[in-house]
Amino acid sequence: MDAILTLAAQNLLSPMILSFALGMAAALARSDLSFPEAVAKGMSLYLLFAIGFKGGVSVSDHGLDGGLLAALTVGVALSAALPFLAFGLLRALTPLPITDAASVAAHYGSISIVTFVTASTVLDAQGIFHEGYMVAVAAAMEAPAILSALWLISRLNGPGAREDRGALLREILLNGSIVLLVGAFLIGWVTGEEGQREIDAFITAPFKGVLCLFLLDMGLVAGRGLRAARQKGAGGDVLAPGVLAFGVLMPLLGAAAGAAAGWALGLSAGGVALLMVLCASASYIAVPAAMRVALPQANPAISLTLALGITFPFNLVLGIPLYLAVANVLIGG
């Protein structure tokens, strides 16, 4: 317990968390501090490329341990299953209509790559080993939750969507962030240590600093979202107690599922912690876009405020050290 608290305090006072807090505070205080859209996208492309590449290099170093395929399968299954859990929880805790609940469920089944990146950075800083292929698992977990949510909707609401399922699936799988993550992973795998040496000064040294600025931007966006939710009716339901509770409970349940699965897979302590983070986190880049296409009736403000305004900071500040501590106990790292 003491260790967790120290870790949490240490985490809390890292430049990364403080940058996020700065962004959130600035937005809530109505400062006009902001990042241009192009700069935010540029930073996210950099982070995806770097994290994918480093994961691939790590696989080329340590080999696959036969674990990649099993981990991918489990990851896909978790991403497909968690929306049902989330949906049930939402119906129990909140008055959200079916469509909105399904949309939120899709966000929570999928993953937040920035939470994953931050957790990897914390592990690296503490010298804790984690399987490089977890990056590929992260990529694999982006999409299945979307299909589960759509299936849920069509079961409950009837086949309302005129949208062509095949086109949508294709679009989800070829989503820019999935393609870049998987592509960079493969490049890292193929070029290995030697490739890394060539571009290390770009993808490793400045990584944490870029992550700080990106988290600052995330804080600004999250803070603006919370402010808007408070002001207008639009996403107002988000701040209802039941919804807030979901935003904190769901990551804990997800993390528990991830812990069990990671343990069953025989992952390292670091790997288990990362799988917990993936299950605990909620998408706010790929899934929101997919939901706008497939479920336009769902109110986007609800999912986004929950994912980015509640669950993201919760995971960042308390979740990551907690999951790491649990993984350590579980695996005895």
Binding site: S34, F35, P36, A289, V293, Q297, P300
Partner: protein
């Protein structure tokens, strides 16, 4: 200078629908359109801004389409297919164009 009657159709639509809309426009044999970026706005679903955003969700584009008046009806029906279920506004104004052979 010789001018010709035309319609200026302006469609504000969610950015995620861009590809679907333009494919429909091409299927409807619209000869041309221009896409303008949109940086923010407000409507029944609240305020939004593109600042610092990464996801394509939560953004809009403006599609401007100059067409001959006789093609308007078909264009609107096409556009309506997409706009109907999605956030967006469509406006049509009378205008005049140079070089009518282009439209």
């Amino acid at each position: 200078m010789q001018m010709h009657d035309a319609k200026r159709v302006e469609i504000m639509i969610e950015a995620v629908m861009e590809r679907r809309l333009t494919e429909l426009l091409e299927a409807a044999e619209v000869t041309g359109y221009t896409i303008l970026p949109v940086s923010g706005g407000s409507g029944r679903s609240g305020l939004w801004s593109r600042e610092g955003q990464v996801s394509r969700a939560g953004g809009m584009i403006a599609v401007v389409c100059l067409i001959r008046p006789e093609r308007l009806e078909k264009l609107l029906e096409t556009v309506f297919e997409v706009v109907d279920r999605h956030i967006g506004v469509v406006s049509v104004s009378d205008t005049k164009v140079l070089r009518a052979e282009r439209f």
